[in-house]
Amino acid sequence: MIPDPWLPLLIVLSSLLTGVLIFFVGEEQHRTRSTLNLVGAVAKLLLVGVMVWGVFHRHRYETRLPLLPDQDFVLRADAMGMLFVGLSSVLWLLTTIYAIGYLEGSPHRSRFFGFFSLCVTSTMGIALAGDLITFMLFYELLTLSTYPLVVHRGTPEALHAGKVYLKYTLTGGALLLVGIVWLYNVAGSVEFTERGALAQVSEIHHPALLAIFAILIAGLGVKTALVPLHGWLPVAMVAPAPVSALLHAVAVVKAGAFGIVRIAYDVYGVEFAARLGVLKPLSWLAGVTIIYGSLRALAQDDLKRRLAYSTISQVSYIVLGIGILGPVATIGGVVHLVHQGLMKITLFFCAGDLAETLGIHKISEMNGVGRRMPWSMAAFTVAALGMIGVPPVAGFVSKWYLGSGAIDAKQYWALGVLAVSTALNAAYFLPILHRIWFRPASGEWPKPERDGLETRPTLLVPTLITALLSLAAGLFAGAPFSPLGWAKLIAAREYVS
């Protein structure tokens, strides 16, 4: 069957075009801009729906254009990519609604939404990239399109954050480029294939492949915020809440983690990577990052900073899932890509609700806020419990599979990491929940609007939806199109042998 060349391109173009058009929309034409945003997001969601259905039934989608005389620009839909595409397109729609509400009345909105769309375009490209050079193309575009979002407010702190962000990410990108060019030199053009393509490379090149793996992981590790390359993430917290939400749940951090997933599964192939001996160090690195991030999170009083350190810790679960060899751990790691996204975006939405409605930025100011904003705080509670791993929220499913995978692979130290990290997660989330629900309110807050809602509906509705989604992903984990069902499909395709 001839692969369909249009759908992948259309999915990327749907947000690219939206972004480009938004740049031309006048600052005051809010209605036009919002319509454009929503039409783009909904259109993309529909296209993605069609493609998910197709990939499930093993239809092939591939866009191939010549980039260099011997290299192609390839967009291709496979099971792994669809997981990320699905996550991004759902969360883009929700974050767009949220951002429209959040930025109401603030300046430079055309610039913001333009780059916002470019950012999602890059994420789509990263997810659909069929080879490393195409991946690289969108990976760097992501750096460039998030920078204006990070410095959006134009304050000295924002500009400083932007500078730190660029220093880290551009250096990471440069390393990635070196790794990719070197790999192309050793192995020829490398396309992503299930179970990897490098096992055939001759024995002489194995030391080079080892070094390349290290360089690639170092390059991708910056965006994944692996310790010690995580320094940019807490600083970048100055960005507006929807940007933080996007950065942590969908775009930047996930792009890095997804890149590592691609390198391990679809370039090297996990079994070959294990033979090279690179998976062990990778899983140790992930273990260190998980513990370190949780420890640092404990000490933060700023809500967004605590969430940021929590992200550092949680994203490395995905990497840990790769490092523990075996299909069960793979399911746990890959599914966490989606689960962490749903739960973390909920938490950031809630942080934004608190900041926008009540001006709360610090955890110490959150006493009794559950009575003033019960719905938002209920969402926060669901997501926080999910992060700890309490059933039936999605996070439990990830941890369950990671743990069983560790036992299957006889890597009991990983089980220890999971246990310690769960305890730490509880230690930094439960006190917040206690403050929210059980402590008396400490200050006077602005009264709710006349309609009785605790905050603007554009802020509240996306928050509730993502909270429900993280609950549903856990409750209905057995359904065929749930994230878990899809992760099982991926694991089946990666471990056929």
Partner: protein, 498 residues
């Protein structure tokens, strides 16, 4: 070799059209500029496309002037490399012409002399890229330098007069060295034709001297470190459309000649020591240029120092292309592609800077606060061109960097890969130093003037083309494969490697 494959009129029209435009503009003054801008680029574009089509059909194009071929007569020749350079000149030229229409529309000084000098400069560039012998190259290079020096002084301010004079002296010294080298070669072989010389030349001491004289002369004109001293004041103080011409096109002419001569005419003299030496000078230029660019107070000086750094990059082609035959094609393509995308990006930067400076009325980077709200298109042009300079995808600069990195790693010269990577990070540092300013709110008392709309659009178009070069690299790269240096390369015995 001297067989006449074509006598179609496209080669001479490429030279005569801008020459005629220059003469008309000289006679009728600035009134004629609108008509000439409407007509000349269209003519040049048409001739270029026709030439390209014939080249695709029949290969290498020769044009003997007055039907006298080499070795006696003047001969023009077009191969893949020439066509790429001609295309680059035409693209940049069209947008600079449009921009200049807007720029000189008010009471801006210099409009009277800009047009004739610019048309002559275009003619000189086209003739240079089509020349097939050493003396013809000399004549066109001289014409190019003279019109360029004239253009530098247009604003009439003391600063640019001094810079122009210094530029003229440097250019003359360069031409003199080149001419002496050519004279030595002519004395030894009795021919000036590139093709004939390529077959005859032997590694002898006299030839080494001739090659050194020619190289030093051309390096001075290309402003490779440490011969770059004349460039920043000249490019930084000239009017913006002129700076765009100088940085985008003029330095590429002498770089083109160096590539031509070293890889087509005397590749046998290209020793590893010489190639690595040139590369080291290039690396020093990359680092020192970027460092100085980062520390400039004036926007145009920043861009001018960036040119010094980017010239350094171009010369990495030499060690990369000469190390082993395996990497030669990749490295040469990378070098030429870098020149091509730098031409678009750097011209866009200068044009965007020109619009921003006209708006703020001052050439200072810290005056750019809030300029984005008044000139969003120019700011975008600046940003996109910056992306290409940094070598980030998708842009022509990325493709060039990819090819050069590929060549560096394929030939095991990892140290040049390090230079390439560090250089692009430094580029990012100075580009973002400008861009971050634009996110700040403008001061209360800031006054913003308006500019003709064609200026930002011209800048944006060139930046967009620099970006598109990252997605349409296959066509120019295939064209480059059909260049005389590669053909000559194939004639050297060591290229036959399984």
């Amino acid at each position: 070799m001297t067989g006449i494959s074509s006598v179609a009129p496209w080669i001479p029209s490429l030279i005569l059209l801008p020459l005629a435009a220059g003469s008309l503009s000289f006679l009728f003054g600035p009134r004629s500029s609108l008509g000439l801008v409407a007509a000349t680029p269209v003519g040049i574009g048409f001739a270029l496309i026709q030439l390209l089509l014939e080249f695709n059909d029949t290969g290498l194009q020769h044009y003997p002037v007055g039907s006298w071929g080499s070795p006696l007569g003047i001969e023009f020749r077009a191969d893949g490399l020439s066509l790429v350079m001609l295309g680059m000149t035409a693209t940049v030229g069209i947008f600079i012409s449009l921009y200049a229409l807007g720029y000189f529309s008010g009471e801006q000084a210099g409009g009277v002399w800009f047009w004739p000098l610019w048309w002559f400069l275009w003619a000189a560039l086209n003739a240079l890229f089509l020349s097939a012998d050493l003396f013809n190259l000399y004549v066109t290079l001289e014409l190019l330098s003279l019109s360029a020096a004239g253009l530098v002084t247009l604003s009439g301010e003391w600063e640019s007069l001094a810079a122009g004079l210094r530029y003229l002296l440097a250019a003359l010294a360069g031409s003199l060295a080149y001419l002496m080298g050519v004279a030595l070669l002519y004395g030894a072989y009795g021919t000036l034709s590139l093709e004939l010389m390529a077959g005859l030349i032997r590694p002898e001491p006299a030839n080494a001297l001739a090659a050194s004289l020619i190289t030093v002369g051309l390096l001075l004109k290309t402003a490779l470190f440490p011969l770059h001293f004349w460039l920043p004041p000249a490019h930084g103080s000239a009017l913006p459309p002129v700076s765009a011409l100088l940085s985008g096109l003029v330095i590429k002419a002498s770089f083109y000649m160096l590539l031509r001569l070293w890889f087509e005419v005397f590749p046998s003299a290209l020793t590893p020591v010489f190639a690595q030496g040139i590369g080291i000078l290039g690396a020093i230029a990359v680092f020192s240029g970027a460092w100085l660019a980062f520390h400039q107070e004036k926007l145009k000086m920043l861009i001018a120092w960036s040119t010094v750094a980017q010239i350094g990059y171009l010369f990495l082609t030499f060690p990369l292309a000469s190390a082993s035959p395996a990497g030669a094609l990749t490295a040469l393509s990378g070098g030429v592609y870098l020149a091509l995308s730098h031409a678009m990006a750097k011209a866009a930067l200068f044009l965007a800077a020109g619009a921003m400076l006209k708006v703020t009325g001052e050439d200072r980077i810290d005056r750019l606060e809030g300029v984005g709200r008044h000139l969003p298109v120019s700011l975008f042009a600046f940003a996109i061109a910056g992306v290409s300079l940094m070598g980030l995808p998708p842009s022509g600069g990325f493709i060039a960097k990819w090819l050069l990195l590929d060549a560096a790693l394929a030939t095991g010269q990892w140290w040049w890969a390090v230079v390439l990577i560090l250089g692009s990070l430094l580029t990012a540092a100075y580009i973002f130093r400008v861009l971050r300013r634009c996110f700040l709110a403008p001061p209360e008392h800031a006054v913003f003037h308006s500019v003709p709309v064609v200026m930002p659009i011209a800048a944006f178009s060139l930046a967009g083309i620099a970006l598109l070069l990252g997605l349409t690299a296959v066509f120019p790269l295939r064209l480059l494969e059909k260049s005389a240096p590669y053909v000559a390369e194939a004639a050297i015995p060591f290229t036959v490697v399984p």
